[in-house]
Amino acid sequence: MSVNQLIFRNLKKNLKNYYLYVFALIFSVALYFAFVTLQYDPAMNDTKDTMKGAAAIRAASVLLVAIVSIFLLYANNIFIKRRSKEIGLFQLIGMTKSRIFSILTAENFILYFGSLVIGSFIGFSISRLILMILFKISGVDAIASLHFSSQALIQTVVVFCVIYLLIMLMNYVFIKRQSILSLFRVVSSTEGKVKKMSIFEIIIGIIGVVLIISGYYVSTKLLSGNFTTVTGLFGAMIFILGSVIIGTYLFYKGSVSFIFNLIRKKKDGYLTINQVLSLSSIMFRMKSNALLLTIITTVSALAIGLLSLSYISYYSAEKMAENQVAGDFSFVKPEEAAKFNQVLEANNISFNEKQIDVIQVDANLKEILGNLNGLMVDPKAMTMPVISDKAVKNIDVAEGETIFTGYNDLLQKFMSLKDSGPIGLKGQNETIPLHYLGLKKDSVVSGYFTNGGQPTAIVDETVFELLKKDVNPAIQKESSIFIGITLKDEVNIEKANDLFKEMFGSEDRFNSSRLEISNGQKQIMGLIMFIVGFLGLTFLITSGCILYFKQMGEGEEEKPSYTILRKLGFTQGDLLKGIQAKQIFNFGIPLVVGLLHSYFAVQSGWFLFGTEVWTPMIIVMVIYTGLYSVFGILSVLYYKKVIKEAL
């Protein structure tokens, strides 16, 4: 057999084994190419202008390269170790190391550049789809067209050539360093020696769990006011990151085998087949894979967390805009509102107009403030907007009473209010004492008056008149009249919004359009979500592949055990059940830990991003889990094959 034949034979055999590797390779090339194409796409200019979209996409493509190259190097490392016996054999029959290296290089070249060609082709064809997705979620109104960019192709080819060279360098070093004997021994030396649990490991195991839990605990306290200074807050964040990551590492290093060991001790030697295949095998392997698993867990936690947060913002965009505008359009200058009204009438759009007098008053809230979490304001004199109960439908407060409205979760975190209590509203000369009755969610006036998110006090008409006569001019805004316009028919909102944009530009401090704000928010968050989503997907696929490859190796290594068990009379079904249990742990533990990490990360800070947490977070987590389990299922199928061949 000539060398060329050898290369093709090897390739054919390897393709069957490494179809997932090839798939991951093609996928990453395709995604990278699509991203780079996007970067050079003229249609992207629309998005670029408003939000520096190109910069974000370029940063994403750099990250993509980092993920992909780490994955490829790692996967290559696994494969070359598995082939060490073959390399040893070649050396034994008298091939020189450089000859073997050239065989490997040729083999990889075909595999790698074959995937590169297919990947670029796929990447080119899906780039339009990807662009369409981007436009869809960021709400940009542009037509995605197929656009080939030779610049993008060159960039892709260069990047992947560099990765290829790196891989070859690694192979070269590997072959150079090995002697024939050690090559034969590689496989057996990687199998961790089975040892007894030492006290040290038990301690590591306990410390790991304690660290993770304490990190979680601090994260729940992070933004609830226990850390008031910036340094304190920063320190707490560093502590959380450190303790959770180190804790995760120790968890894999010690806790898993510690817990499993406890279970085993309890069984006193009497293990079922499921436990034989799952517990005992995982106990010893988790330890040696601790670093890898920690990285996978941390990055997937990061991916899920970021994805959840960006989805939360995206999801909450409309809600936030509603709070901000309090109606479909809001104005603070009557003449501008009148102009807009004329235009609306001219276009046959019917609407309701609401005018509310708003004054700014210093309020003494000391009695009803639960705690002031690090807000640099004086609780005895907080400036807040006040309106009359006449301006609000369905609310009628008595003379000595007041209700706050326009409350949101973010505010509640920083400034929690008691259910009721006495407050005082300060005018220029006198203070009016009032009884505070509670909070309502609806916002009645626009963000212009509420400084973004403060509640608005509703008082009785007579009290309002008193306050109005006695206002403190120093704290009043330019305008003290809010004009809210609500369309009677939601269908017209886009048309009205276009008219609004024509007249006033997209947005300014005084006039705002709910649709416009919501769209702007969606555009930014949509792009972020799009990028995080695709990076997360790439990471998910590459880390899933790595776990799968690890399982492939493990399956081969454990094949003799399956032979023994089958000789002893366990059926393939028995073994497969045990393998399923094992894979649930193998893939499940990193997944569950990653989900937990991201859950606590999201819980500690989601209110900074939006108004709704559960639905977006759960959607993201379910999708992630679903995609992730595909790899678990694939590995079970692989094991099935191994078990079948074992006897």
Partner: protein, 253 residues
């Protein structure tokens, strides 16, 4: 009572153009409580015979009955079930699971049958004490010697009191001291527990511990030797003589 009854077993490998016949019609009967050795030169088919008898491999022709049940007609699943309950195995390379302790390895065959933990423990203590491995029960296979590993493997074969135990070169990887230790234990177990043992070996000393030796040559039974009332030494000499006649390669002229 006949435990094992094999009639005219044939086994061949390869396709019809390139057929390699390994077993050419072998008849073997084993009575309950017997300790039978199968001897033969390399390539004579003794390991194939054992694999076929123990249902790990399928026959090409002939029938095998264990305790009156015909195994050759059974399906894969039934065979596994049958092995689980009726057969015990000792292999040359021990075949212990590295990730399990000695005790866990030994208790493996019991894990499927619905035996209470206490009963299992009692059975374990009995077998382990007899084989002298009670004090290493919490060690892992890579912490014990070859002899101890093989005794662990033997304990695993005996623990569920199978109808018949198949041993494939059990002393092949052991030094002479551990080997004779193990063989002494095996013949004790054979006596005390009335366990039926079929052992494949090419070691004359090992064979001399058994009650009957079957010689195989080129896939056929060449001859049989019965120990009867002889001492082990005399039986050993008999086996040596037969082996000499059996020879390796036929004389060429």
């Amino acid at each position: 009572m006949k435990i094992l009854e094999a009639n005219k077993i044939h086994k061949s490998y390869g396709n019809k153009f390139n057929k390699q016949e390994v077993l050419k019609g072998i008849d073997i009967n084993v009575e309950k409580g017997e300790f039978v050795s199968i001897m033969g030169a390399s390539g004579s088919g003794k390991t194939t015979l054992l694999n076929v008898l123990s249902s790990i491999d399928k026959v090409s022709g002939g029938t095998i009955k264990i305790e009156g049940k015909e195994m050759t007609a059974m399906k894969e699943r039934q065979l596994a079930e049958f092995r689980k309950h009726h057969l015990g195995f000792i292999f040359q390379d021990y075949n212990l699971l590295d990730t399990l302790t000695v005790k866990e390895n030994i208790l493996l065959p019991l894990s499927i049958s619905k035996i209470s933990k206490r009963a299992a423990n009692e059975m374990f203590n009995g077998v382990a004490a007899e084989l002298g491995i009670l004090d290493i029960k919490d060690k892992y296979p890579n912490e014990i010697s070859g002899g101890q590993k093989q005794r662990t493997s033997a304990a695993r074969a005996f623990i569920h009191e199978p109808s018949i135990i198949f041993a494939d070169e059990p002393t092949g990887a052991l030094d002479s001291k551990s080997a004779s230790d193990l063989l002494n234990k095996l013949s004790e177990m054979n006596q005390n527990r009335k366990a039926t043992i079929v052992m494949v070996t090419h070691d004359t000393t090992a064979a001399s511990f058994s009650g009957r030796v079957i010689f195989i040559k080129d896939g056929q039974i060449y001859t049989q030797l019965n120990r009867g009332e002889q001492s082990r030494q005399t039986f050993f000499k008999d086996i040596m003589k037969t082996q000499g006649v059996l020879g390796g390669v036929p004389n060429e002229r």
